[in-house]
């Protein structure tokens, strides 16, 4: 699996998702481009409303009717945006799967654990015999630390951590190449969460699956991921290996975010950075760079022209005028209304 690490599994380029709302169109994902490699864990972090969940759903094409999606989305060489309904059904589950935040609302309360898992196999692999499917399920759940005696249980009979492991099982049972975990550990207590993180790492090592972890918790990404993409107001602010981004964040938003995250170590970060303002409402995003009203390093160009994601070397990309040139950057022209 290790030698496949740098092979591209997903190519996302200039992806846009627009919702039609009563307040007008909302561009929840705006010109987003990045790749997901085979066997990597990539963290997608951002605050509420930044578009991270929309992006996750867009990868599976699970967006509501009102959403319009443009750009390029290539999964293992195939154009996902061109899939018809049959191809999509086959694509979801078998090649990409999702682990959601709240297992209690994602699992059917009147369906046994075993039949949740069996159903997934029956729907997606009608050719698999039931006996073989049952065998596969037993091996899988034991691997995830659930005794096979618990398979006939209903979701309410399991503990929170076990239910979340069932969710992982559901995500893994069809052997997908990519698992999208959207706030999969958010409702869990820290010790249960820590164990689940260990489990996600083991799954990646054992099955070679790629995992996209969508979260608001940047500390969790430092603990778990190989690379991190920071999203702000529908755009990628910065992307790179966790070592690059955490050691040397380039985007002022990433810098501020990292300085405002509590650190439990007593000898580190005694004072939290207080970022001014709040994340913008996307029905009416700020002009130019969407972070400029909160940015401590704002320049005249920032409110007028939007920067692009720029390769700064070492696999790090940043979306900020500080690191790129523009004719107007040095000589701001201010037009006065005629």
């Amino acid at each position: 699996m290790r030698d496949k690490v740098k092979e591209r599994l997903v190519e996302i380029s200039d992806l846009e998702v627009e919702y039609q709302t009563r307040m007008g169109p909302v561009s929840a994902v705006n010109r987003v481009s990045f790749d997901i490699y085979h066997g990597e864990i990539i963290g997608l972090v951002g605050e509420s409303g930044c578009g991270k969940s929309t992006l996750g759903k867009a990868l599976m094409r699970m967006l509501p009717q009102s959403a319009r999606i443009h750009g390029k989305l290539i999964f293992d060489g195939e154009d996902v945006l061109a899939f018809n309904q049959d191809q999509l059904r086959d694509f979801r589950g078998r090649r990409i799967s999702m682990i959601f935040q709240d297992p209690m609302t994602s699992l059917n309360p009147v369906q046994r654990i075993e039949s949740h898992l069996l159903e997934a196999i029956e729907v997606h692999e009608p050719e698999t015999k039931e006996a073989a499917a049952v065998e596969r399920i037993r091996t899988l759940v034991e691997r995830l630390g659930i005794q096979k005696e618990r398979l006939p249980d209903y979701p309410h009979q399991l503990s929170g951590g076990m239910r979340q492991r069932v969710m992982i099982g559901l995500g893994l049972v069809l052997n997908p190449s990519l698992i999208v975990a959207d706030e999969a550990t958010t409702s869990l207590d820290v010790i249960v969460e820590a164990k689940l993180l260990d489990q996600l790492k083991e799954i990646r090592d054992e099955f070679g699956v790629s995992i996209l972890v969508i979260t608001h918790n940047i500390a969790l990404v430092a603990e778990l991921a190989d690379r991190v993409a920071v999203m702000y107001a529908g755009r990628i602010a910065e992307i790179g290996t966790v070592y690059k981004v955490f050691d040397q964040p380039l985007h002022p938003y990433t810098q501020g975010l990292l300085k405002s995250v509590p650190n439990i170590k007593l000898d580190e970060r005694d004072v939290l950075y207080k970022m001014p303002g709040e994340p913008p409402n996307l029905t009416n995003p700020p002009s130019g760079c969407r972070f400029h009203p909160r940015c401590p390093k704002v320049m005249p160009i920032c409110s007028r022209i939007e920067p692009d994601l720029l390769d700064v070397g070492g696999g790090q990309y940043v979306n900020c005028w500080l690191y790129q040139d523009h004719p107007e950057k040095e000589q701001p022209t201010i037009e006065v209304g005629r």
Partner: protein
């Protein structure tokens, strides 16, 4: 501005004293079931907890869900009746108060909950929400209410107050809503604030501002906080002391920096190690305790943590319940083998 110049104050160092507090919730089961079983089961949410809340301090209560931390908060405010034990507020035994006396005392103890959207009535404007406690506690000062609302809006950073006065909760941001909840709690000039996960819903970039506001207001209004949280990393930035709870009991209690630096209970050690650190060079290597927090209906005998504890000795820990004892100055721990960690 002091609304009540003659306020009885005892001179004690402690604003709140909690002694052997218990809250057992009966498990709702059918009448037939109860007759057949011949007994009622109880969830022992809080099972014998004692601590002091000193004037002007921030005491954190931390623990996982189901540890009883929220129930303790509700008992201290007497939003729940205790099954046993005693809460004293400023020298007054809450158990002995009539409903009317309790209602009056409530002016001095206010609460901030986690979800501001659930704490605010969507049909009440911000000024109405903040005036509501004034109407209850200071009806005779009705002519001043508008001014008092302006003043408190200003104090919590909702400026200019005129802009927010007639707004409704859905018209402002999440961080601003939590400021409204804080303003509503402070407008009666309380002594004690119960803050139950007050910033857990806020975005990361907004949390630091809210924490800072709470600390600043604490100094300005001479407040004492009981700060309930599951987030030990955030607790570091606001709490002076911390109590760690497990299954209805306090297992460790002391100055926060002392507890974090010289952790004496194996459960606290696991809890602290489990918190992810925002630095990929500092990834966790410790193993986590096996299993999950057990059911509070039938907690394990002896030390409640023993089935998951890495240092438990079965013959001892499963039989004898450890008591909270002072092992280092002002640092209490309930573990038979805490000396091993000195």
């Amino acid at each position: 501005m002091n609304h009540e110049p003659t306020r009885p104050h005892s001179d004690g160092e402690n604003l709140v004293e909690v002694r052997n507090l218990k809250k057992w919730f009966p498990v709702q089961s059918g009448i037939l079931e109860r007759i057949m079983a011949g007994r009622t089961d109880y969830v022992r949410a809080v099972d014998g907890v004692s601590f002091d809340l000193r004037r002007g301090e921030v005491l954190g209560l931390a623990g996982e869900s189901g540890s009883g931390k929220t129930t303790i908060g509700r008992l201290v405010l007497r939003l729940e009746e205790p099954s046993d034990g005693k809460v004293t507020f400023d020298g007054i035994d809450l158990n002995k108060l009539s409903p009317e006396e309790m209602r009056k005392l409530r002016r001095r103890m206010q609460v901030i909950f986690q979800d501001p959207m659930a704490s605010l009535n969507p049909r009440m404007s911000i000024s109405e929400a903040i005036q509501h406690p004034l109407q209850i506690h200071f009806p005779e000062q009705a002519h001043n209410h508008r001014e008092m609302v302006y003043e408190i809006l200003d104090k919590v950073g909702l400026t200019p107050p005129q802009f927010f006065y007639d707004k409704y909760p859905h018209q402002i941001s999440g961080g601003q809503r939590q400021r409204v909840v804080i303003a509503r709690a402070l407008v009666t000039r309380p002594d004690l604030i119960l803050a139950d996960e007050p910033i857990a819903m806020a975005d990361v970039s907004v949390r630091a501002l809210l924490l800072d506001l709470m600390i600043q207001l604490k100094h300005e209004f001479n407040l004492t906080y009981l700060f309930i949280t599951h987030d030990l990393a955030t607790a570091k930035y606001i709490c002076d002391r911390i109590g760690v709870m497990y299954l209805g009991k306090i297992v460790e209690l002391g100055e926060l920096r002392e507890v974090y630096a010289h952790t004496l209970h194996p459960y606290t050690q696991a809890l602290l190690a489990a918190v992810p650190v925002p630095d990929p060079h500092e990834r966790r290597t410790q193993l986590m305790p096996r299993g999950e927090i057990p059911n509070a209906i039938n907690p394990p005998a002896g030390c409640r943590f023993h089935p998951r504890c890495p240092v438990a000795r079965l013959d001892h820990c499963s039989r004898e319940e450890p008591v909270l004892r002072e092992l280092r100055p002002n640092h209490f721990v309930a573990c038979h083998y805490a000396e091993d960690f000195l």
